[in-house]
Symmetry: C2
Subunit: 137 residues, 2 copies
DNA sequence: TAAATATACTACCTGAAAGTAGCATTTAGG
DNA sequence: CCTAAATGCTACTTTCAGGTAGTATATTTA
């Protein structure tokens, strides 16, 4: 009941980029700030760039920055790109034909929590995460 | 953001046993009723028996049944045995020193949902899942 | 134009979850 | 006592997330 490690990395990186608007940050600096394996992070950033979530500059002094406004990038977009959103449509017990009309024993209890998590993903932007005066650990 | 498949199997099997109190059910019959790979289910049931969640009879006409009262077995016990409960103490972004006092950007939003899920696991018994007139898919 | 520094691409390695298979062991009952 | 039917144990296989490594390519700048 958690994000894949790669999704954690992706959200970390996107949040960090959102905190440094207008700056182009290299994989090296993200690696050092966020403690994510350098080579693995490089491939991840390429994926995020290809998905259009960040813009990229090649060559010397290259790197990544948030592609659009921080308030137009939602958490679900990051999760979708990395691990997909299939889990949030899935029966909690894995029954293929579980549904509201034909629920498994845990369905009703689970769906309530699941919808709350979905709301978090679909309604929270990177800008929203900036608003609170929370320190990055 | 889901249970491991094996945890799904375990909860399915426990719920099914809880619906047939006093009956000793073989791996074969559980396999046929729940569509879980036969051999894999056999090993899983052994684990649940060793953990004390079900009682077991060997030999001909052997099988498993709920070990105690249905209302004294909580979902968290099943999840704990199969995949552990570490995820529910973990930072959603994987920062090792994230905490209430030193939160990551998502901490406060996530903890609310996480605690609700923990409550579901720690407060729901197999008997509770019986009470609602829901059909097993 | 050449060196430095960055991303992009490709191949490989590792560990764990999920699944398969065979044989040993236990028990009921004719 | 023997056989059928069940669990228990052990080993192997498959798949994929996560991680490592080397090289190609792009861009800045001295």
């Amino acid at each position: 009941m958690r994000f894949q490690k790669t999704t954690e990395y992706a959200i970390r990186a996107m949040v960090y980029l959102a905190k440094h608007p207008g700056q182009r940050l290299s994989t090296r600096s993200l690696h050092e700030s966020l403690d994510i394996p350098y080579k693995y992070l490089g491939r991840l950033m390429s994926r995020l760039a290809e998905a259009g979530l960040v813009s990229v500059e090649h060559g010397k002094h290259g790197g990544y920055q948030i592609s659009e406004n921080r308030d137009s990038i939602y958490l679900y977009q990051i999760a979708e790109e990395v691990e997909g959103l299939e889990d949030y449509e899935r029966c909690i017990l894995g029954f293929p034909d579980c549904s509201d009309e034909h629920p498994c024993a845990l369905h009703d209890r689970w769906v309530a929590h699941r919808e709350n998590i979905k709301a978090m993903l679909y309604e929270t932007t990177l800008a929203d995460l900036e608003e609170e005066p929370t320190k990055q650990p």
